[in-house]
Subunit: 242 residues, 2 copies
Amino acid sequence: MMKNTPLARKLGAFVALSEAELSVLEGLHKRRRTFVAGRDLVHQGQSDQAAYILISGWACSYKLLEDGQRQIVDFQIPGDFLGLRRVVLHLSDHSVEPVTDIEVTEVHVSDLMKTFSDTPRLATAVLWAASRDEAMVVEHLINIGRREADVRVAHFLLELGARLTLVGLGSKTGYACPLTQYLLADALGLSSVHVNRVLRTLREAGMVTFRDGFVTFDDYDRLAEYAKFERTYLDQVGPLLA
Amino acid sequence: MMKNTPLARKLGAFVALSEAELSVLEGLHKRRRTFVAGRDLVHQGQSDQAAYILISGWACSYKLLEDGQRQIVDFQIPGDFLGLRRVVLHLSDHSVEPVTDIEVTEVHVSDLMKTFSDTPRLATAVLWAASRDEAMVVEHLINIGRREADVRVAHFLLELGARLTLVGLGSKTGYACPLTQYLLADALGLSSVHVNRVLRTLREAGMVTFRDGFVTFDDYDRLAEYAKFERTYLDQVGPLLA
């Protein structure tokens, strides 16, 4: 039984899915594949007709610019789609690389479109989740543009926590996090030395500790206040559509 | 009859809407309101339970940061929702200000949720459109971070053209555009003097002219090539869901 996949948990936060809808979702989880850390699975501009649902592990989507710079746009965690925008929105804008070894389900675009057509409530949930993820990306990028480094890092760690909590992989206590300081730096527009210094400051202030692959919220409420973190979507109780 | 609203045209690009669905959409267009240029209609952090559908005129969404800086996140054109994320995604992140006098339809969140629940295909179309718009915002912000000013302006003018074409207000020839160089500057992270200089360069190169409230594509294909503009979603023929 696959009805407790991260994707089902995530979509359940937006739309109360029926047994029938959960079965359809399960039907999408047929073709399992694994990819090793560091090898691209979606290339910028690629016209492949498949997207992936992340089952376990972490990935990152990034954009390579003409001058060779790399901007990490977002990290993907279990329950997230990889390459969804490319196949359904006809936007081929990112490359996706596994941060850890990952397990995914491959979904062909024709199967996905048929599912959307047959079960529009499921489509609503998927697009709702995608839209929320995009909104968070906007936050990241404003983050990079305008916030101080300390607040930027704090906000980022809180947001990852909120997303992981939604799929049962985190809480207000903390979460397991495989990101290196190099990856954090590429996502936040900071040097890794700077990231390291900020993390020490936040730890010494008794707010959050990132060490040995774990983020521990030492004082969640104070950190949230410090980062002016918008907690509304964390506090959401029950799905938005019955 | 309202079946030819900009919103109906826009959603029709994603989902082939039935007569019944078009009628439901029409039902949302009941409470007309007008707002004058320059006066906020959605305040950052406001907990109002209404969103708006833009019927005519242009608006911009922006974020004020603690230090008083203003970042324009996106412009809204007819057919776009204003404040949708705030009411359905529980993200209260932007303020919205009319760029011109605008006409909108006010939609209460309870009506919107009922519509989504009763006609999930309509919800799919709305979220699909929202998701595509978000994806474009991501492009803007990468734009700001990494592209040269000339390419940045060119890309921005092409993208606005693509969005306006979708709702019947633009073509590969050009479009009416009420934006000042100050607004362009705030959206693109440039000074207005710099925007002015870039526009002159692009005009003298015979690619695009922005003058007296009109953007004229003097050589659309060359401009698109110059800006590495991803035209896939422009070339889309027919809705994605039958």
